[in-house]
Every structure is written in structure tokens, then in C-alpha cells.
């Protein structure tokens, strides 16, 4: 099994006719993902290499029965696209857009929760989600993942997600699902959402978690793990040497005052019984060791 997406997931791409949407939408389809449509207002009736394009999400859902949406539109249009997807009946939204203003993100998240409580948003500013061999939505290169489990991966950083997939796949360890929750201040899906799903998924037998500086999501996740998780967890937190007060690339990656340091996050995770590693390679090796002992 896998979490959130599998071989039955049908996907539309909002922004399929744009350069990012086209490139990644086609790449996802080539991976085997059921990409059933695209949405670009004003371009309904056309197609992108055989994928039909619709004017609105409502229409796309009516015609294709899509359950998931992949949003690849510029920051100023992304909040409206997210709400349109939810209103159109989409259950799982992946938004890779980077650079959405925090105010828009907070407003959109709260509208989504209040008006469409059953809808899950992944991102914004995330690499997407891949259940190897079944479904890949987003920008992850499918060839670095390995099907068959038993590891679930959840990560705030895109490139470190690839690094984690690569470390495991190279050593012959597969993944059930790899979720990139993104580096923005208001992620639609957080660590706990993913840990909860991995804990409930019988095929996921261990979890790798990759955090970074800023906010307190890792600490909250640690608390959740201590109380609810019986599967082994390996963690790596980036930014031990990051200076305070500077945004390290991601809008959410900032140490404010004494809050949000990597050290505090690693300590909280270690206290929760998580095996905390000093770099991605070490985390990969630790996970391989755990999986072999299962």
C-alpha cells in the first residue's frame, strides 16, 4: 500500500499548457501516473500530447472523474487555483508553486479548511508526492525512487528528498510513498499528517523524516511520535550551522530568536526515540540497517 496516492489516483494538471506544467505533467504521465486532463482558462478544447485541456476544474472533473490535481501556476494565480480545485470536487491537491506571499497562503489555507474540510492540500512550494511504481505527482525524478517499500519518507526540502530517495534506492531499499511537504510557513499537509498515515499503512514499516530549521513542526512531530508511533523513525534536520535571523532559501526556514534551531529539533526527536542522524548519508545508512533487521 501507499499513502494519499496510488495506482487508482487520476490527476488533472492546472497549468498544463505552461512550461512547468507541461514538462512535469508529461513526465508524470510517462512515469505511469494517470494524468487525465489539464486546466487552462481559455484553452479548453485543445490538448497537450493527447491530454485534453479544459477551461475549468469543474468541467475537467465532470468529464474525467479526476480525484487529484497538480497545480503548476505562477504565485499570483496559485491561491485561486487551489480554491478552484477544492470547489471543483478535487480531493487531493499538490501545489508546487514557489513564492506565494505568506498572507495569501494563510488566507487560502484557512478558507480551504473552513469551506472544504475533506480536501487535502500538499504544499505549496513542495516537490510533490511519489508512490513508486504507482503514481508520481510533482517534480521528483521517478527513476531515483524504488517500488515495493517498506520505507515511508516525509521531507520539508525538495533536493534532500531526492537525496534520501537516492541513498535508499541505491542500497536496494524501496519506498511506499515519499511526500515532500514543502518549505513554506503554512504547509497544507504537515509532518504529523504524514506520520499518522504512515503509521496506519501496513506496508510502511519504517519512516524517514527530513526536517529543517524554522517553525516548530519537527518538535510537534516528535511529541506525536512519542505518543502514537510504534514504527521506527530515522530523522535528519538540515541547518545546524545556519545563522539566526536569515531566511535560508525557503520562506519558512528561519531561526527567530532562540526558536526553530536544528539543535532543538534534533534533541526533541531524539527524546521521542527517533534515531537522529548528522547528515543525509548517515540517515540513509541508518535506515538500511533498520530495514535489514526488520
Amino acid at each position: 500500500m501507499s499513502i494519499f496516492v496510488d495506482e487508482s489516483t487520476t490527476v488533472i494538471v492546472q497549468g498544463l499548457t505552461g512550461s512547468q506544467g507541461r514538462f512535469h505533467g508529461l513526465r508524470n504521465r510517462a512515469y505511469g501516473t494517470k494524468v487525465v486532463g489539464g486546466v487552462t482558462p481559455g484553452k479548453g478544447g485543445t490538448d497537450v500530447e493527447g491530454i485534453p485541456v479544459f477551461d475549468s476544474v469543474v468541467e475537467a472533473v465532470e468529464r474525467t472523474g479526476a480525484t487529484a490535481s497538480f497545480i503548476a501556476v505562477p504565485p499570483r494565480f496559485a491561491p485561486a487555483a487551489i480554491l478552484e480545485a477544492a470547489e471543483g470536487g478535487i480531493e487531493f491537491i499538490v501545489c508546487i508553486t514557489e513564492g506565494i506571499p505568506a498572507q495569501d497562503e494563510a488566507l487560502t489555507y484557512n478558507r480551504l479548511v473552513e469551506e472544504h474540510p475533506g480536501v487535502r492540500l500538499l504544499g505549496p512550494n513542495c516537490p510533490g508526492i511519489i508512490s513508486p511504481g504507482k503514481c508520481n505527482i510533482g517534480i521528483t525524478s521517478g527513476d531515483i525512487a524504488r517500488a515495493g517499500g517498506p520505507v515511508g519518507i516525509v521531507s520539508r526540502s525538495g533536493t534532500l528528498t531526492y537525496q534520501a530517495l537516492y541513498e535508499l534506492s541505491q542500497k536496494g531499499v524501496g519506498q511506499t510513498t515519499c511526500v515532500g511537504i514543502g518549505g513554506d510557513p503554512v504547509p497544507g499537509t504537515n509532518f504529523i499528517d504524514c506520520l499518522e498515515a504512515f503509521q496506519a499503512d501496513p506496508d510502511t514499516r519504517a519512516v524517514m523524516m527530513i526536517g529543517e530549521i524554522g517553525g516548530s513542526e519537527e518538535e510537534r512531530a516528535a511529541e506525536w511520535i512519542a505518543q502514537n508511533m510504534d514504527k521506527p523513525v530515522v530523522a535528519y534536520v538540515a541547518g545546524v550551522t545556519a545563522p539566526a535571523g536569515r531566511k535560508m532559501g525557503h520562506a519558512g526556514a528561519i531561526i527567530s530568536g532562540s526558536k526553530g534551531t536544528a539543535q532543538a529539533k534534533m534533541a526533541a526527536l531524539a527524546d521521542a526515540g527517533v534515531r537522529v542522524c548528522q547528515n543525509p548519508t548517515e540517515a540513509g545508512e541508518a535506515m538500511v540497517e533498520i530495514v535489514r533487521a526488520l
Partner: protein
């Protein structure tokens, strides 16, 4: 982007938040002109983006021109925690009856806005929070509903602001919330917010952090950018559109993706080195971006080796390799370069570099080995 106090006050004023009349001065003469215009007594305040100005002698009261001259002279050029003062804000001095604290920021765990209000202002809010947490009235604000005057009135009463300050403070808080949301701030903080003996409420300081992601809808922010970067390396990187943060070490870092870039800094540190910078070339970087990144790093005299750590996703490793060669053909790179290349088109990328490898251009198979090599070469 963090604003200077004077910029923050100008920004507050746009949203109708009352501030003291004042002006900017870059010289003693300008300071005297502003003082003359707003009327004595005045406060002469150093404009630096660091706390503790008062203790460092960067904030002084002047009752007349002689004092104003003396203070302006002493504060201009003053070094406050490594920030040299080149600009002053001179404003009419206020009589203070009471000092309060007010701010809005994002409550990340709860994903709503958070207003903080306290009748104990003028000191660091962290100190108040630690010593008497009950003295801060926290107000979660749902972004969908916003903040109305009725709620703000209950809030000022709950925080225990003085009776005569409450009506004005409530209006000011609604204006501050509008500044924070419509003005796209990550943080809008007033400390102290004062009540004068005459019964007026206004902002005596301004701490504002703007959300760079919202710059596209704020053309008025351009004027704030003039002196945004004190570090010349950061200014150069900005001109090239690179995501760069200057640090103090000797290993220049280039990576793709914020997480990998942070991780690269950590790994360099673990193997005994120090990073000269954080540089994320982002997703989809091409040869031009890579060349620009190497040039910016090359201009840093502290750098003695360069570590390029790429895991291709959207970024194609062959493009990165071309960029490295491009940079080498354009400028002389003073330090040896160690590369670790994996991911999309890594085989093609390594093949492009293969004929050019020597003791100044080196590849290593893993991140850890590359870090060790770069750190050894930096010594």
C-alpha cells in the same frame, strides 16, 4: 526584508498609524535641519538593523541645536555590534506617560495570525514573556475573518491598557493589522507604543519585516531596497538574482535547493571546515546561473576552496557542468573547485567535465567525500 526604523515608520504612516514627526539625516547638517523643522526637543536615533541601540549610545535626546550637533556627530560613524551608523532618524521628542507593546505575526503551528498586546512595553517582549507571561494578551486572528474594531476594543481592555488609551489603541491596532496583512508584513511590531500625558497614543518605534514573496504587488517597496544589503557580496549576488547569504568561513558553497544548501554547510562543518556562504542556485538553474554563482563566490577574498554540490531534479547536471566551464572561460577562478554531481543527467554532466579535470577542478562521488576534499583544500 527587514526595514530600518525610519522606513517602518514611513510604512506605518501609509496605513494611518500615528508616528512622531521626523526626518532622515545622513549628516550633522541635515540632522540640524530636520530638528529645526520638527521643533526641539528632538531624539537623534541611529538607523541600524540591530537591537540594543540605546545601550550602545545610539539614541539621544537633544533640547537645542548644540546638543543636537554633539549627538549627531557622536552617533554617525558609531559601530553598533558591527553595524556602522551612516544614517539618523531625527524626530520630535515625546513625553511618555505609559509604554505598551503591540505586534502581529504568523502563528505557524496554528496557521492563523497572532496579535500580541501588553501594557508592559518598552522592554524586550521575550523578557516579558519569560517573566510575566500573563502580561501579554494573545489574540489569534483567523485570516478569513480579519480583525474588527469591536474585537480590538475587547482586546485592549483584556490587555489592561489604561482607560484613556483604549479607544485610540483599538483603532491603531486595526490599522496595524491592515498594515500587516494588506502591507504583506511577516512582522509588524511597535515597541513601545506610547500614551502621552496629553492622552495621545502613537508608535515610538517600528519593527517591520516585509515578505519578499509579495514584492510583485508592492512597487512602493523599491525605495526600501536602497540600503537593503550592507554586505557587498550579498549586493552582487542580488544583482545576479542569486539566493545568497554571506558567512565568515573559507569554503565557498554552491548547491541547488535550500535544503541541500543548508545540509552542505552542515557537512562542511562536520568535517572540520567553515562555509563562506549559503548559495542556493534554485531549481532549473542553467549554465548562466552557475557561471554567475561561481563569479560571486570568486569575488569573496576569504574563499580558499569551492564546493559545488548538485543533486539534479529540475536542475540538469549537464547544464551545471557547462556553467562551470563557462565561468572558467570567462574569469580566472582563484580557488580550486570540488564538485559532487548526482541526479538528472549526471552521467552527461560528468562526461562534459572529464577532459577538463585537474588539481584545480575535481569531482568526488559523494557529498561527504567532496566536503572532506574541499575542506582539505581550503587549508
Amino acid at each position: 526584508m527587514d526595514l530600518f526604523e525610519y522606513q517602518g515608520k514611513q510604512y506605518f504612516a501609509r496605513y494611518g498609524i500615528p508616528v512622531s514627526p521626523g526626518g532622515v539625516a545622513d549628516s550633522v547638517e541635515e540632522a540640524l535641519e530636520v530638528a529645526e523643522r520638527v521643533g526641539y526637543p528632538v531624539v537623534v536615533k541611529a538607523q541600524v538593523k540591530v537591537g540594543g541601540r540605546g545601550k550602545a549610545g545610539g539614541v539621544k535626546l537633544a533640547t537645542g541645536p548644540d546638543e543636537a550637533r554633539t549627538h549627531a556627530q557622536s552617533i554617525l560613524g558609531l559601530d553598533i555590534k558591527g553595524h556602522v551608523v551612516t544614517r539618523l532618524w531625527v524626530e520630535r521628542a515625546s513625553d511618555i506617560a505609559k509604554e505598551y507593546y503591540a505586534s502581529f505575526t504568523l502563528d505557524r503551528p496554528n496557521k492563523v495570525h497572532l496579535g500580541m498586546l501588553s501594557a508592559q512595553g518598552g522592554v524586550e517582549i521575550e523578557v516579558v514573556a519569560a517573566e510575566s507571561p500573563d502580561a501579554i494578551a494573545m489574540l489569534p486572528v483567523d485570516p478569513v475573518r480579519g480583525l474588527d474594531v469591536a474585537t480590538a476594543r475587547r482586546w485592549v481592555a483584556e490587555a489592561g491598557l489604561d482607560e484613556e488609551a483604549r479607544a485610540q489603541a483599538a483603532d491603531l491596532l486595526v490599522a496595524l493589522y491592515r498594515c500587516y496583512t494588506e502591507g504583506d508584513c511577516d512582522l509588524a511590531e511597535i515597541n513601545p507604543l506610547i500614551l502621552t500625558p496629553g492622552g495621545e497614543v502613537h508608535a515610538l518605534d517600528a519593527k517591520v519585516t516585509l515578505d519578499d514573496n509579495a514584492a510583485f504587488r508592492h512597487p512602493e517597496w523599491d525605495e526600501f531596497r536602497v540600503d537593503e544589503f550592507e554586505d557587498p557580496r550579498e549586493r552582487r549576488a542580488r544583482e545576479k538574482g542569486l539566493n545568497y547569504i554571506g558567512l565568515d568561513g573559507s569554503v565557498g558553497i554552491i548547491a541547488n535547493g535550500a535544503g541541500l544548501a543548508m545540509s552542505t554547510l552542515d557537512v562542511v562543518n562536520q568535517v572540520g571546515g567553515t562555509a563562506a556562504n549559503f548559495l542556493d542556485i534554485g531549481g532549473g538553474a542553467n549554465a548562466d546561473v552557475m557561471a554567475a554563482a561561481l563569479e560571486v563566490i570568486n569575488s569573496d577574498p576569504k574563499v580558499t576552496s569551492i564546493f559545488v554540490n548538485i543533486f539534479g531534479g529540475i536542475t540538469r547536471v549537464d547544464e551545471v557542468a557547462k556553467g562551470v566551464l563557462e565561468a572558467l572561460s570567462r574569469v580566472e577562478i582563484a580557488s580550486p573547485i570540488v564538485l559532487r554531481l548526482d541526479g538528472t543527467n549526471a552521467v552527461e554532466g560528468r562526461a562534459i567535465l572529464a577532459p577538463h579535470l585537474n588539481d584545480r577542478l575535481i569531482t568526488e562521488p559523494t557529498m561527504l567525500e567532496a566536503a572532506r576534499r574541499a575542506v582539505a583544500l581550503a587549508r
